[in-house]
Symmetry: D2
Subunit: 337 residues, 4 copies
């Protein structure tokens, strides 16, 4: 249930109301978005009467039920779009942010070269995997802590905020100097990990699972927000279907649906979805046109020799060309880039 | 196998070569596209040596194998894009064509009203179903021949070429005054029907089946072209996946893949894919950005009372607004509209 | 809506009731199954009151609404299991019927050899394709009418009833001496074809489409029954999923669900589902255990040289061994074989 | 690559060979299965010549390449079936083991009642969830450590070995008195968790992910075996498809395929696959017929009031009836139960 509080409600009365509701066994999430103060009540609200609640509490302007199972991420609870801040970069409605970098950090030279180049081309955030989830235990598993140090050096050199994937909750302490934590598709329903990043104050980039519905993606984001962390970006990266010509099927319909249902930013990863370099540019164009708030694009200084996912990475020249085009499109759409 | 013939090859020598190859049991499809004359050889070419063929026939400039199972639709056989002509409208590369109209023709007044309105808004082709494939035998099955007459009246009134769906080969004779025949998703692998429309000279709009791969769509088009009819448009309209928030999952990656693999025009139907009116505009924008040659959009004079698919139809005002936006985007992409 | 008529209702009163209901715009399907006479009313019954109908008609013992969109195939309308008769063979509850034969009829010798062998092993119906739906127009398309004659010769030689696939309604007249008509997976929603075989008096073997739900399969059967033909067998043959190790994913859960929802017989085709010979025996065992009324198994005199689907066909010895095992299992399940 | 060692190879020579291969950068897994001693070499073996290896090492009887990406789980490496031991229960080829119990441990009384009842009916292992992966953060999350204590009390009372799901690696220390650790479908590709249980000596029940292929399931098992733990059971529990009448589509073809490709035991969970109580019995029958080594069936003392998954749970009487039937079928199949 959602309680819209009156604009003049004094803080002590709000605190008192929250306390009473929590004493009744509810969780009470407080959202202040400029004009409105909204209290989102979670728990078995079946016996509560919204009208009675509004009448009997002078600071409650109105109350209504939320049918959807997701509450804190729900745009009906929190109509104003959330801006997520990674370093000095803001991601969200009205902007178009491009995250780029190699699939894996492979060496100091590689990540520095790529970082400088994608920054020059216009990327706003640097990506680079150091803990890699691989189908085979015998595949390259990432450079681990050593790679993390290289990624942070690239951050320092370029000033770009950095995002990298976390594989389990024990790695959280390693992420201190990272600007945004990525939860990969395979971990989208690793609920304990979601809860742990929910307790941190780092922005989280949450990727949709290969076989997860749009509603399940929202519910996984709800795990993070329900622990207090409101800085979450959702990422559509393709789902598993019968089609074999692409690695996954990019579900671009998910973008406007997510934008409608949640206040969180939504970005698109065309590289992992398609698994084919030639499709990255057309799918990026489609992503901006369909309403996405940004892109995550794999770029490699040497795609043909990359230790992972080279087939889908743009080389530095291709990324530069893509960004020239994307900038024109962002302008066309009236978005800051 | 593909034989590129020398530009100076005299007709009688070409005819002679074709005859000899057919006598050896091959089918020989001749493509002339401006600069090049290409002979596509179909059958068990395993024992033929391309080099020997080129050397021993003075009119064969070069010869090479085509690995893909699709030959006549293959862009490697026929590099130049095909323009399909429906009435006075041309559909294909460099253009962006919008087909619009109601799911079903329901009355004379309805189809006339919609036809005039979508024409004014900028639609180039009028759609309207008269033979309707419905999951239930008890649902509205279309107005049949009576509806066809109404559709043709709308054609006459507006001058718009018309497209309607065929359900079986016995209806082919009814299609004389129709400008383009649609093969629906459920009939994409109705091979006998494909062959029959392949023998006609009507342009064919072939929709991808709900569970058919991109390669199977190309193979179904191959059925039509192999019978002689080269006027085929492919239409991506969503595939069946586990996601339930949309009716189907629009596979926009299919568009650049199809454009790469075939010379045939490729359009997108966002209405049937999404099954939700609100998604039609964002998916239309994505379709033009991803490289489609056109759209098929359902429009209704009264969506809330339509006898079929009202939930996904734009009303006439919404379609007008969409077309204003689409025109700007076509200009941005450098496409004729 | 379903009207249960009183056992003593005289024929003239039933005819009168049917006439009145049809005059009101309903279709009225009459089912007599031994003890009960049931009248199934189809159309917009929203304004009818079941209780009033029962009270105001002395021959109506009771009336109730049927929520499901399928009526004539619905087990709640027609609780008694339907037995389908092909030649002298009965297929349905309490029995286990094995249909076998080659994917395609390839020659007189081949079909005769296979027919005799599968009969000796215990098959009750002979299958053999003569009109073949193939993804490529350049693949073997079946021996057509010539193959049909060979199939009928095999019928005469062995006494086995025969089943073959129909591709379009113009072939219906060719099926006079065929005992059962197969509608293939790709034609499951070829509604005009369903209607045509619904008007014939031939038993129909209806295969589930690759991407069709269980409910859609029931609705396609409804098309046939609504035209008068009650002799329909449903066949589960695998659906399209992301798994690539099998050609399709055999959905054995569909069998008990279908048996619960409809009175029609349900059989399983493990050969097309798996696409792998080694899986035919285990999946056949699972099919009988899960409650299927029979099997359709591809058998070949020479699998390695078959013109189609050899990879999934059992050879004659393997089929013989399978039947020895299946017979024991049918006995275990208490089914006639 | 697989090296078959000669039966007389002395230990010191084996140790010496392993050391040399590891020095060359390979991982060397040693399998001793009664008759044979097999050394499985993992790493980039492209430059090794199997014949040369066999000739130049007198203790190597033969050597051959393994094409599949899975090595330690591969039946070609380890032809003899693995028996997994949980408490006094052995699970694997030639046996049929039924694991049963509630979805969640809900109270001391509940788990004791269910445990005693399923033991009396013939279950060999008790299941009960205490850490529950739930789509919503607001759903019942299990009784956690408290539930674990109840489960262990039920173990002590009945003597049944117990299995429960682990959610993250920090819970491993809590599992000391648990007989088998379950990795749920959502964690099938939580590679860090796989590695951690691979270092433990507890048997692991690994469930197939909703959208994971058979090969990916084998690769996830490979993660566990590659760390040293050979006691792994694979569990087919349904995959995500477009069909909505069942919660998931049980892929029974996976059972014979897995049995062919790996030496690990394979069981089936019909409860989670179907999500419908009525389908549990027919799917259990199909599972034993198709060659599974056991079942995991949800049983509840009060399905209509269960805190999770009541809709799919058998009540205690239904489970008793199922076990009577299953025992007859195990006898029919010649399997110990």
């Amino acid at each position: 249930m959602v309680l819209v509080l009156s604009p003049e409600a004094p803080e002590y009365k709000i605190a008192d109301l929250v306390q009473r509701l929590e004493a009744d066994g509810f969780a009470a999430l407080l959202n202040r978005n400029g004009e409105e103060t909204i209290l989102c009540l979670i728990g078995d609200t079946g016996n509560l009467d919204p009208d009675e609640l509004a009448e009997s509490n002078d600071i409650v302007a109105s109350a209504r039920r939320i049918q959807e199972p997701y509450k804190a991420v729900n745009r009906r609870v929190h109509p104003q779009a959330t801006l997520v801040q990674a370093g000095n970069t803001f991601i969200g409605e009205g902007r178009f942010t491009v995250i780029s970098g190699p699939c894996s950090v492979e060496s100091r030279e590689q990540i520095l070269e790529v970082a400088k180049s994608v920054k020059a081309s216009g990327a706003a955030v640097l990506r680079g995997g150091v803990f890699k989830p691989r189908t085979s235990p015998y595949s390259f598993q990432g450079l681990q802590e050593e790679g993390l140090a290289m990624l942070l050096e690239a951050k320092q050199e370029t000033g770009l905020p950095v995002v990298t994937e976390i594989m389990n909750q024990t790695q959280l302490s390693l992420m201190d100097y990272i600007d945004m934590i990525q939860i990969g598709a395979r971990n989208m329903q690793n609920f304990d990990l979601l809860r742990e990043v929910g307790k941190s104050d780092k922005p989280v980039l949450l990727k949709r699972g290969l076989a997860n519905t749009i509603e399940e993606l929202l519910m996984s984001a709800e795990y993070i927000l329900s622990e207090g962390n409101q800085q979450v970006i959702l990422c559509e990266r393709g789902i598993r279907t019968f089609e074999t010509m692409t690695r996954n099927t990019l579900d671009l319909s998910a973008v406007p649906l997510l934008k409608e249902k949640t206040h969180l930013p939504v970005i698109v990863d065309p590289s992992h979805a398609a698994g084919i370099r030639r499709l990255v540019a057309p799918l990026s164009k489609a992503a901006i046109a369909v309403g996405a708030d940004g892109l995550m694009v794999e770029t490699s200084s040497n795609p043909s020799e990359a230790l992972s996912d080279g087939k889908q990475s743009l080389d530095l020249k291709q990324f530069e060309a893509l960004m020239i085009d994307i900038r024109k499109r962002a302008e066309f759409e009236g978005k800051l880039i």
